[in-house]
């Protein structure tokens, strides 16, 4: 029940018989991030799922390494790695149905790939090619979003629209800890709760917004505590525990699909790499901090669980690694040459119909290119 519904019940006679409000407790996150691996909850976990997650994590880690390597070879202009955050990336992709939608930020190409988008298409933007290399409608993945938190209202609007059309669709939106400070975060969560839109917000709290540590970003007990202020459920999860992430997100998606409204999930994780390949993380943090997190690595945690429970053997581990290598090799191979862009396409998609003004500019560029080609021909 909301304030407003209670307002009727607020008897403005002195002293007003204020009806006790709904207990906010169910909206508040637990005091500790939810964990599965290494706890009793792991007993309940589906071994098949755990193995699937493991394979995806291993492949995801390799994907991150490969993409970073591609920047060194000049094949990618820039790459914001999600190394260390693979459990969040993979979890977000795996909990969705085909008809659902994923709203990634600029760091989330791994989630996009895990959802089924061709990695070459997912990386189009980061090559310096056109912004969105994939058809958003094919896998129901919104374009990678660079202006922070602006994708969140999009996710809410889409989920709301789907519900209005009677479609059983959930939207899952990714955002960073830094992005949670933006006004759009607030407005999106508020609209979602008021509309009871079937949307899940996953904050990957990786401790940093470029160089700015979380302590300079928020003074909140946790980011998940923001949920109660919108009247939605807040959940806190160990973002490096793939099984826990999967379980919490699955529950949130189910809740949304059932008409229960949005959930805000905060996943505690860590940005092991620098902000992007061109950032120098030593300027703002000590290596030792990174090291402590390597021991809480998502792959390590899951591998240990699988091994201890005899759910995987050395062959299984090798198979996962081999699959990842094959994947990386194919990616490397396919990224081995620069795409050929047609400059005339600058004008093609600005409007459905180019304006007369754009037609003039189109003609100007055509002339320039022709002249260029001619003089190149002449010089040859």
């Amino acid at each position: 029940m909301t304030v407003m519904e209670q307002r009727g019940a607020y008897r403005p006679t002195p002293p007003p018989a204020w009806q006790p409000r709904t207990d906010p407790a169910p909206l508040l996150p637990d005091a500790e991030p939810y964990r599965v691996l290494g706890t009793d909850a792991a007993d309940r976990a589906d071994p098949e799922l755990l193995r699937r997650l493991y394979a995806e994590l291993v492949r995801g880690r390799r994907y991150n390494a490969q993409a970073t390597a591609l920047t060194k070879q000049g094949r990618l202009a820039v790459y914001p790695s999600s190394t260390g955050q693979e459990a969040c990336q993979v979890g977000a992709a795996l909990v969705l149905q085909d008809r659902d939608w994923l709203f990634p930020s600029y760091r989330d190409t791994l989630a996009v790939v895990a959802r089924g988008v061709d990695p070459v298409e997912a990386l189009t933007l980061l090559r310096g090619d056109w912004h969105t290399g994939y058809d958003p409608y094919e896998h129901r993945v919104a374009p990678l979003c660079t202006p922070l938190a602006t994708q969140l209202p999009h996710a809410v609007g889409l989920a709301h629209a789907a519900r209005l059309k009677g479609d059983d669709v959930v939207a899952l939106a990714l955002v960073g800890d830094g992005g949670s400070s933006e006004g759009d975060f607030h407005e999106a969560l508020n609209f979602a709760a008021v509309w009871q839109a079937p949307v899940v917000f996953l904050v990957q709290n990786n401790g940093f917004a470029i160089s700015v540590p979380l302590a300079k970003q928020t003074a909140a007990p946790s980011l998940a505590h923001k949920a109660v202020g919108y009247g939605m459920r807040g959940r806190l999860v160990d973002g490096n525990d793939a099984a826990a992430v999967h379980e919490v997100l699955t529950d949130a998606v189910r809740h949304a699909r059932a008409g229960g409204g949005p959930t805000l999930v905060e996943a505690i994780t860590y940005r092991v790499d620098a902000h992007t390949n061109s950032d120098d993380a030593t300027r703002y943090r000590a290596d030792a901090e990174v090291e402590t997190w390597r021991e809480h690595d998502p792959i390590l945690l899951l591998e240990r669980e699988l091994t201890e429970r005899d759910l995987i053997d050395e062959d299984g581990i090798q198979a996962a690694r081999q699959d990842a290598e094959t994947f990386a090799a194919a990616l490397r191979e396919r990224m081995n040459q620069d795409p050929a862009l047609d400059p005339m396409d600058l004008f093609t998609h600005v409007y459905a119909e180019p304006t007369p003004q754009l037609r003039e500019q189109h003609a100007l560029l055509r002339t320039e290119l022709d002249a260029e080609a001619e003089s190149e021909g002449a010089h040859r």
């Binding site: 056109w130 209202p153 629209a161 609209f191 459905a352």
Partner: protein
């Protein structure tokens, strides 16, 4: 009882009718904004829509403009055609990032795969005695943003025709509604409203051979009045109503200026960096050798919109327009 189909209608009524007809014709058309539901909008343009089509089709949103436009983006991604109302010109600014970084670019970004058929209705301009933030002319911001159409009606018929066209457009349209014309009335056929106007065509509202007044929106009636007054001075002024700022109708404007050889651009927006600079520059580029005098601009001053008690000194009026016409170097004529 007989219905008189042709009767006086206000621009606000024509806009309401356009929304209603668009919603009736297409279930994907959704109206959203602050107070658009039960209240029918602060200018009553959405009056009755929530009742007729339900609150899910005409929705009172939380009070957050970026959220309104941002969720509209998501709704459009899913195939709806949102018509967003910004309550006043200056209250569209919180949505600026969504407008510039997403609404205007999504089609281009996705190589044509994800068009955003969103109409953003913005009541704009002054002359209604509004206090600060309620009278801005913000069209310069939208004109400078590739990917947007920018449209503004000056007549009751155009209000209907252009709004229908905006909603029908597969591209985002910033639809600027001149506040002080909301209650101006024209005879209008309620039975068969004006057809949908294609976006991008200017229209000659009055013919004349002495000089061209190039204008739009709230300044159109002022220019018509000025043209009437100019006859006493011996000038036959042509008045071109642009209707669409983007795309810009170079053809109609150029043809007029080539005929008259002189032009004044008139708008409420501040002159500096305002629409008039663009218009004067492109007219000059295209008609240089036809021009007897530089294209002049009559505009609001380059000051924050003044308080109600001073707005008449700020807004371009008949006298200021005629003074500019008088400066069009008529000596050269003799």
């Amino acid at each position: 009882m007989t219905t008189v189909a042709v009767r006086p209608a206000s621009m606000a009524q024509a806009l309401t009718r356009a929304l209603r007809d668009a919603m009736a014709a297409d279930p994907d058309v959704h109206v959203m904004g602050e107070d658009v539901g039960t209240l029918g909008g602060v200018f009553r343009v959405t009056d009755g829509l929530a009742k007729e089509f339900g609150e899910d089709r005409c929705t009172d949103t939380p009070l957050a403009e970026a959220g309104i436009l941002g969720t509209a983006v998501g709704m459009a991604m899913y195939g709806l055609r949102p018509v967003v109302e910004m309550q006043f010109d200056a209250f569209a600014y919180p949505a600026f990032e969504q407008l510039v970084s997403h609404v205007s670019r999504m089609r281009n970004r996705t190589r044509g795969r994800m068009p955003l058929p969103i109409t953003v209705r913005v009541p704009y301009g002054g002359g209604i005695g509004g206090v600060e933030h309620h009278s801005d002319s913000s069209e310069a911001y939208y004109m400078a943003t590739p990917g947007l159409h920018v449209v503004t009606p000056a007549t009751v018929a155009d209000a209907y025709g252009l709004l229908r066209a905006a909603i029908a457009s597969d591209d985002p349209v910033v639809f600027l509604e001149p506040k002080r014309l909301y209650w101006s009335k024209d005879a209008w056929n309620f039975e068969e409203p004006t057809p949908v106007e294609p976006i991008g065509r200017a229209v000659v509202r009055r013919s004349g051979r002495s000089a061209t007044l190039i204008t739009y929106g709230p300044s159109v009636p002022v220019c018509m009045e000025a043209a009437e007054a100019a006859r006493a001075e011996g000038w036959e002024l042509e008045v071109v109503d642009l209707r669409s700022l983007v795309p810009f109708d170079d053809e109609t404007v150029g043809a007029s200026v080539r005929r008259t050889g002189r032009a004044v651009v008139v708008h409420e927006s501040g002159a500096f960096g305002g629409p008039g600079g663009e218009i004067a520059a492109r007219v000059t580029e295209r008609c240089f050798h036809y021009l007897e005098a530089p294209v002049l601009r009559v505009a609001g001053f380059d000051v924050p919109y003044p308080p109600p008690m001073l707005e008449r000194h700020h807004l371009p009026g008949v006298d200021r327009i005629l003074d500019a016409v008088a400066r069009l170097q008529w000596e050269a004529e003799s």
